[in-house]
């Protein structure tokens, strides 16, 4: 009798140790106990077959009806949980994005500090800045010509006259009014490009070895290029013999971007806006050589000497004309 009491007491005490506020690992541990036992037996003499068997058991444990360690119910619950969690997160994210979009104006970007001052691009553009062709082989320059024609389609005199208005030159074409109001665009007719319009010479001079290149200043919403004085363009040999580039003709207006084409009001309201262009007509360039040419914008507020950005206010391309 007494003995029982003693050992009973001892049992009780032992249990106290085990019933201390345990963390839940224990129960979980129990859960996978059998598996562990099995694994332990295999320790040390694990063959490939054992591993495969283990994997199979892991994938589908027919005893416990478990797929990858979870029963169907367990999988259902966990998937449901993640469904709810992710739906909540998706909802919250959508809500935040919606809030973000509400703060944005559809007409003017919140910030324009990264896009200005403007960059420069040229046409023809065939994924590169080396314009190389052989005058006597039309197939070498046709792609350039096609690219130019394609680009200038929007500048067709008829289209321009039909869609856009004539503006007074030499001053900014400021259109006040509600932000959402549609803005008029000023005409920039292809014919203004004169020898480089592709009207008189549909090959833009490529067939004669005196190619035209169109220069375009990147659009920036609200940007008033030149701050009152039109931005002009000049071109020079980038490095090397200055004599390789003897003469360039600029159209229109000696290579300036007229003030009337600014400011740009964004594509939503300024639908028919066409960027003003400056055509560079390389009438006397050294033939049968690679001639590196750099064209720069000049004007108030234009930056053209940043080392990192070789397209900011300037552009460099190579002409290689073979006769």
């Amino acid at each position: 009798m007494e003995m029982n009491a003693t050992s009973g007491g001892a049992e009780g005490q032992r249990e106290i140790y085990h019933l201390k506020p345990e963390n839940k690992d224990e129960e979980r541990a129990q859960h996978s106990e059998d598996e562990q036992e099995k694994r332990k037996e295999k320790m040390g003499k694990k063959t490939l077959a054992d591993v495969i068997q283990e994997m199979k058991t892991f994938l589908w444990n027919s005893e416990k009806r478990e797929f990858m360690g979870r029963t169907a119910q367990s999988w259902g619950l966990i998937l449901l949980f993640y469904l709810i969690l992710y739906m909540f997160l998706a909802g919250m994210f959508s809500f935040c994005m919606y809030g973000l979009l509400l703060t944005l104006s559809p007409y003017t970007p919140t910030y324009r500090d990264r896009v200005s001052p403007p960059g420069v691009m040229i046409r023809p553009y065939l994924h590169g800045f080396t314009i190389a062709f052989n005058v006597s082989e039309p197939s070498t320059w046709t792609p350039y010509v096609n690219s130019m024609h394609h680009f200038l389609q929007a500048y067709d005199d008829n289209i321009q006259e039909e869609k856009n208005i004539e503006c007074p030159a030499g001053q900014y074409f400021v259109q006040d009014g509600a932000e959402s109001e549609e803005r008029k665009a000023c005409q920039f007719k292809r014919s203004q490009l004169q020898n480089c319009s592709g009207i008189g010479d549909p090959t833009f001079g490529y067939s004669t070895g005196r190619p035209c290149i169109l220069l375009k200043m990147n659009r920036i919403v609200g940007y008033r290029a030149g701050y009152g004085t039109p931005v002009s363009v000049n071109c020079a040999i980038q490095k090397g013999n200055e004599s390789a580039l003897k003469s360039v003709d600029f159209y229109p207006g000696n290579g300036t971007f007229d003030l009337m084409y600014y400011p740009y009001y964004g594509k939503l309201t300024h639908v028919n806006y066409t960027s003003p262009l400056v055509a560079l007509h390389f009438t006397d360039v050294k033939k049968n050589d690679f001639v590196p040419i750099q064209c720069r914008l000049n004007g108030e507020g234009i930056v053209n000497d940043v080392a990192n950005d070789r397209f900011l206010g300037r552009i460099t391309f190579t002409l290689s004309i073979r006769m």
């Binding site: 032992r14 839940k24 690992d25 375009k216 900011l312």
Partner: protein
Amino acid sequence: MESLSPMFGPDLNFPRGLTSARAAEILARDGPNALTPPKSTPEIIKFLKQMVGGFSILLWVGALLCWIAFGIQVAQGVASAFDNLYLGVVLALVVILTGIFAYYQEAKSTNIMASFSKMIPQQALVIRDGEKREVSAEQLVVGDMVEIKGGDRIPADIRLIFAQGCKVDNSSLTGESEPQSRSCDFTHENPLETKNIAFYSTTCLEGTATGMVINTGDQTIIGRIASLASGVGNEKTPIAIEIEHFVHIVAGVAVSIGVLFFIIAVSMKYKVLDSIIFLIGIIVANVPEGLLATVTVSLSLTAKRMAKKNCLVKNLEAVETLGSTSIICSDKTGTLTQNRMTVAHLWFDDQIYSADTSEEQTTQSFDQSSQSWAALSKVVTLCNRAEFKPGQENVPIMKRVVVGDASETALLKFAEVILGDVMGIRKRNRKLAEIPFNSTNKFQLSIHETEDPNDKRFLMVMKGAPERILERCSTIMINGEEQPLDRERAEAFQTAYMELGGLGERVLGFCHLYLPEDEFPDTYPFDTDSMNFPTSNLCFVGLLSMIDPPRSTVPDAVSKCRSAGIKVIMVTGDHPITAKAIAKSVGIISANSETVEDIAKRLNVPVEQVNKEDARAAVINGMELKDMTTEQLDEILINHSEIVFARTSPQQKLIIVEGCQRQDAVVAVTGDGVNDSPALKKADIGIAMGIAGSDAAKNAADMILLDDNFASIVTGVEEGRLIFDNLKKTIAYTLTKNIAELCPFLIYIIASVPLPIGTITILFIDLGTDIIPSVALAYEKAESDIMNRRPRHKKKDRLVNEQLAVYSYLQIGIIQSIGAFLAYFTVYAEQGWLPNTLLGLRVNWEDDYYNDIEDSYGQEWTRYQRTYLQWTGYTAFFVSITIQQVADLIIRKTRRNSIFQQGLLRNKVIWVGIVSQIAIALILSYGLGSVTALNFTPLRVQYWFVAMPYAILIWVYDEIRKLFIRQYPGSWWDKNMYY
């Protein structure tokens, strides 16, 4: 060893020793008399191991892929090819730097050890060329004649040819602290048992001896044991296994996601080269580059903290091993006990008195008014050869150094505490004759003048084995009166003797006799050889019993172990009764538990009939253990929760350790002797004693207990458990942001948006902003009493379990990614790129020739303008991750308690972490924003706050998680969400 005689030559009595020339010859043949240090891994190998361990391989692969991509791109003439070269170099640098760091940390903790193992060069008195000279012990060779005296360390294995009262302490070899006498007689076949051999590294306690060196260096018994220890393999520490497991998980995730998306990218018609670059990004994003360094730092912080608490950790990983310890096999002497004999009980006037045995005793409070005590104290004081070393007047009595054996020291200190100035008393009672204790007489006797000038009688005092003393007595002193020693009195003596003996104490009897003045006049010539004085019919005065008492902190520490689910097993060379008594007094055997023998005695049945399951405690004798099979030992270890192994040899310790390890336990073993080193090595964590431990033990151990105190182990365990919990938090914290780093790449590949975060930027998070916060988690206090739960199961309670990975990756990590993406979309949208324009934009966006891409407003962007915007996006993404990592850091402070329960301000280092995190982000954005190579830009202030709602969501969500865990323990939620 027995074939020595020819080497002696004829000059046995007057040894001339070797000639210097001969000695030099033998030295050249045998090498110096020193133990070869255990073979250590060459430094370069250790270094290279750090270079390829953990995630390093993965990062090397990343670097290699970078260089391959660079090579291909250079061949193709791609302008941005050098980015890949640099990235490759950066990755390589990361591996090398973290490798150097880990190596340095390892080396630092090893250096602590180096200082320990450095020994003061030992000198030996050797006879060479017929004259005595001092040489360094290393110079000794076989055949040298050496002289040793009390206090010397034996410089080699020596066969004695002359000995006088020589006693040695073989405890470093056998674990037995009892001094053993040494003589020239060959007494046993076994060299370990025979009396005429003294062993290297043991100490000579008293007496003098001359002997011939028979073994030097590694050939000595100690040397052989030491080499045996180095043969026992070093197992991987539990934390090393855990970290490996974790590395496998992360590497598995990285490689499988990497390969999966490589295939997806290729099948989405990406170029193979691009796909390789994606692969690099995915690897870099997935690997927590800084984590292993952080773990090392956390461990070494804990090691430092433990060192302050007297646990010096040799191997950083052992810090955690101690925490997962489930069985401690502890020595008795010195670890559980104070390692000094102390008077525990007295018996006089037919009554037992208890004495104070604590470490700091200054007075004794038992009743000292009886005349018998006065007589007893006189015998104790006078019949004692131990003396304090001079010049220690200011040292507390208990700490003074004494010349003499353990029992005499105990008696001396006991007397000094009560009477004070024992030496003065002895001077006033001049000693006239003395017979020292020897094993045949089993008593010690001395004759003194009395200090009373009027009393011309001599006082003879005697102490010794109680039964021998009693035999010589005819009277007994009761209350100061001599009374005849009748049967009744003798029985009372027997009862007291049995009782004290039953407590495991060493009992001494004391008696005295005043020699009659007329028979022994002033000038009487006492002769100890002929014993011309009475040695019978003496007056019995009393008994004193001594024990090596437990340290006062130990019982508390043992009960802490109990509640922490750690089994404490005592393994001692001592007698079972003593062992059991100490075990009971410290709680290793709890008050209400019984051994099989106890039950048998109580029920009055033979031992065989007792149901073994009823007995919680077991005291196993070394002899029984010898005959046990492995199964029997296992059975004992499983069935009994309170076990004492007594009379065990250190070799048996190894068997016990192996038995415990068969139960899947993490075993900590304490030891000090050389013979313990195999067990220390075999144990999951070997703990050597800093004070009493031999160098071999310290070498074999993972940890050194500076104060030899068992209680320090328990504080170590607490630290070890805490660091395990905190490492979990650190890893959870670190893994979370990996998803936020990975998602950008996945979205980039699938949705073709501009890259939200760059590889370099990711490295700045992993190795910049995240480092200090993740170390700060190591300073987190425990959430609940960690000493109230069971030790973790090696194989079940993983450092990184499924819940931790899933919760970090798929829940918090996803929230973080979403928050960071919100910032990314905000930056782009406010600059003119609405989210819908971004989709599918990648190819044009990254086209170096395309310098007039239209955004949502019709504005045209050059390539560099876009790149700069992309970097702004990186910075915003980076900042968002940082901000959300602050929230992540705060939630990781606890795993189940609310942050408010834990206290936001208790761990100040966390705040240092948060401040550092934000400061680094500020510096990167505003300070280094102009350095293009780093891809950071000065960010608009408001973008710092975009992810804030998600940071708050992380906090709130985790609080809810913890609330449900606390509210519904054992529920589905608890099982799936508690990591």
